[in-house]
């Protein structure tokens, strides 16, 4: 008997995301955002998703909001970093068309960790008392530390149904190597029920076996592997290519002018798949971004 490969087409892998699902995906600002997968979520017409973004997110969330895919968003940071506020996020919250849970970096990280560990909840330090989080977000529950009698704040585990993680290298069985910064790639894999890896490159399992300490996500957590070179464009894929600043500025400018629909038409719906998208960006541009 032969070991089964987990390699799938993007379309097949993303189909697992049903309307109403709770998802998470990698991102620290413009690093390792699985943008090709996000475009496919929009292309397949997903609706009413709940997204638990990593602590510093923006581009993918803003696009999903503009496409009408989101119902609920957890918010630690949703912005465009050096390009300013995320325009569609801002408008959606100001116009009450998106339900949000205001959280923050430790709440998301510790919530993912609680889900990864299967513990009932996670207690956060007393100093949340000095903020407005407990006032606006019912997920923060004031509790008493049974050992000291001091106040603490309980938050529930954050357990996405599906996590999408972009990496540089992965074998056919889901053993992934994530280079560059460690932006919750392995954490959300551990927190989620179903894991989709999108990867710049598929490497043989023998390469993984030659240096198991380099594997950052074990295949046992992974359900699908999708080969997507430049799958993080217009964001950066650490150690592979930089972010496409010109493209990002164009996005930000269209978004500010309430023209995100045009962007989506041109870059999501017009290309029928990721490779048509790459053709549209053009080989010259892609190679300019590449790190040699």
């Amino acid at each position: 008997m032969e070991r089964q490969s987990k390699v799938k087409s993007l379309e097949e892998a993303i189909q697992v995301i049903k309307d109403g699902a709770t998802i998470a995906m990698t991102a620290t600002h413009y690093n390792s955002v699985p943008m090709a997968a996000v475009r496919q979520i929009i292309r397949q017409g997903s609706k009413k998703l709940t997204v638990i973004p990593t602590p510093s997110a923006g581009l993918a969330i803003d696009l999903l909001i503009a496409a009408g895919s989101l119902e609920i968003c957890y918010v630690s940071y949703v912005g465009l970093e050096f390009l300013g506020l995320a325009p569609n996020f801002r408008r959606a919250v100001e116009s009450h068309s998106l339900k949000i849970f205001d959280v923050d970096e430790p709440t998301i990280i510790m919530g993912f960790k609680a889900a990864a560990a299967g513990i009932p909840f996670i207690p956060l330090p007393p100093y949340y008392k000095l903020t407005d989080f407990p006032r606006v977000n019912p997920l923060y529950r004031e509790i008493t530390d049974p050992f000291t009698g001091k106040v603490a704040y309980a938050v529930p585990p954050l357990r996405p149904e599906v996590a999408i993680i972009h990496v540089q290298q992965c074998d056919p069985f889901g053993n992934a190597r994530q280079l560059g910064g460690d932006h919750t790639e392995s954490l959300i894999a551990k927190a989620a029920d179903h894991v989709i890896i999108t990867t710049e490159e598929i490497i043989p399992v023998e390469q993984i076996m030659s240096d198991p300490l380099r594997t950052t996500i074990p295949g046992i957590l992974v359900d699908s592997v999708v080969k997507l070179p430049y799958g993080a464009h217009p964001g950066a894929c650490p150690a592979r290519y930089n972010y496409d600043e010109e493209h990002l500025k164009r996005y930000a400018s269209l978004a500010r002018e309430e023209q995100t629909g045009k962007y989506i038409e041109e870059f999501v719906f017009a290309p029928k798949d990721h490779f048509e998208y790459l053709e549209k960006i053009g080989a010259r541009r892609l190679l300019e971004l590449k790190i040699s």
């Binding site: 299967g118 074998d171 399992v205 198991p212 046992i220």
Partner: protein, 264 residues
């Protein structure tokens, strides 16, 4: 049992019996003193379960390819050809959350409900024997299925009631257990000893003798068990290793013959 008498050793038989139980596509965890289950998973991967993945105890290796059975699962040499090095934190997370489909473990005492004890023999506060401690036995409440394997079969190990519950099996046999364990934790499903194979009755949740190994009798087993197990009708003889199983075991899994020396 001598190898000479029947062509295979007790530990080889136990490894083969266990390997047949393991299912393709699952993820299993082994603890210390794991030569038998280690051989079982390696054999299962070669026969019917190529998609089985396994954690080699304290080494953290997932899917070790080391072509020998070391006496310590924690030996870092088990990282040879592995696909991932799990940290202890990862191991706790995966086991606690219930990501592990099956685990193979032992104990100083195992009782008729499959509860296990590694803490003490006798009263906790005045023990006759202080054991090493529980390590990860708590996760018998979180593993999908638990295989208990023992290197010795005697009334000191197989007891009516453990003196300390380190790892909950079916607790007192009542349904109370189900309220507290992880959703998919089905509890102990097999007890494998040098003499026999047991499972657990679905209704009473008590240990039940299923088969005795070639050369053993039901009477011998009952005499060496510290309680009266249920008897599955008919009690069969444990199926001996096939030639193919034995050949794979000896050429690819255990070329150094560790299993032939393991249980005197």
């Amino acid at each position: 049992m001598e190898v000479a008498a029947c062509g295979y050793s007790t530990a080889e038989l136990m490894a083969v019996v266990l390997s047949r139980e393991l299912r393709d596509g699952e993820f299993g965890a082994l603890g210390a003193a794991s030569q038998i289950p280690m051989a079982a998973v390696k054999l299962a991967k070669l026969t019917h379960a190529p998609n089985l993945s396994w954690l080699c105890g304290g080494s953290g290796a997932i899917n070790s390819k080391l072509p020998t059975l070391l006496q310590s699962a924690a030996d870092y040499r088990n990282l040879f050809g592995a696909e991932y090095r799990t940290s202890m934190e990862d191991v706790v997370d995966m086991e606690m959350r219930g990501r592990v489909h099956f685990a193979c473990l032992g104990g100083m005492q195992i009782d008729q409900y499959g509860n296990s004890n590694m803490v003490c023999v006798g009263d906790y506060h005045n023990p006759t024997v202080r054991g090493p401690g529980t390590v990860g036995l708590i996760f018998t409440a979180a593993f999908g299925r638990v295989y208990i394997y023992l290197h010795h079969h005697n009334p000191q190990i197989l007891v009516e009631k453990v003196d300390f519950i380190s790892g909950p099996g079916f607790y007192d046999g009542s349904r109370m257990r189900d309220e507290f364990v992880n959703k998919n934790a089905k509890g102990p499903c097999m007890v494998l000893t040098p003499l026999a194979v047991f499972d657990f009755d679905e209704i009473s949740r008590k240990m039940r003798l299923c088969s005795v190994h070639p050369g053993c009798t039901v009477e011998q087993v009952l005499a060496k068990t510290g309680f009266r197990p249920l008897l599955k009708e008919p009690i069969t003889q444990t199926q001996a290793p096939t030639e193919e199983e034995l050949a794979l075991l000896r050429t690819q899994v255990d070329p150094e013959g560790v299993l032939r020396q393991l249980i005197p």
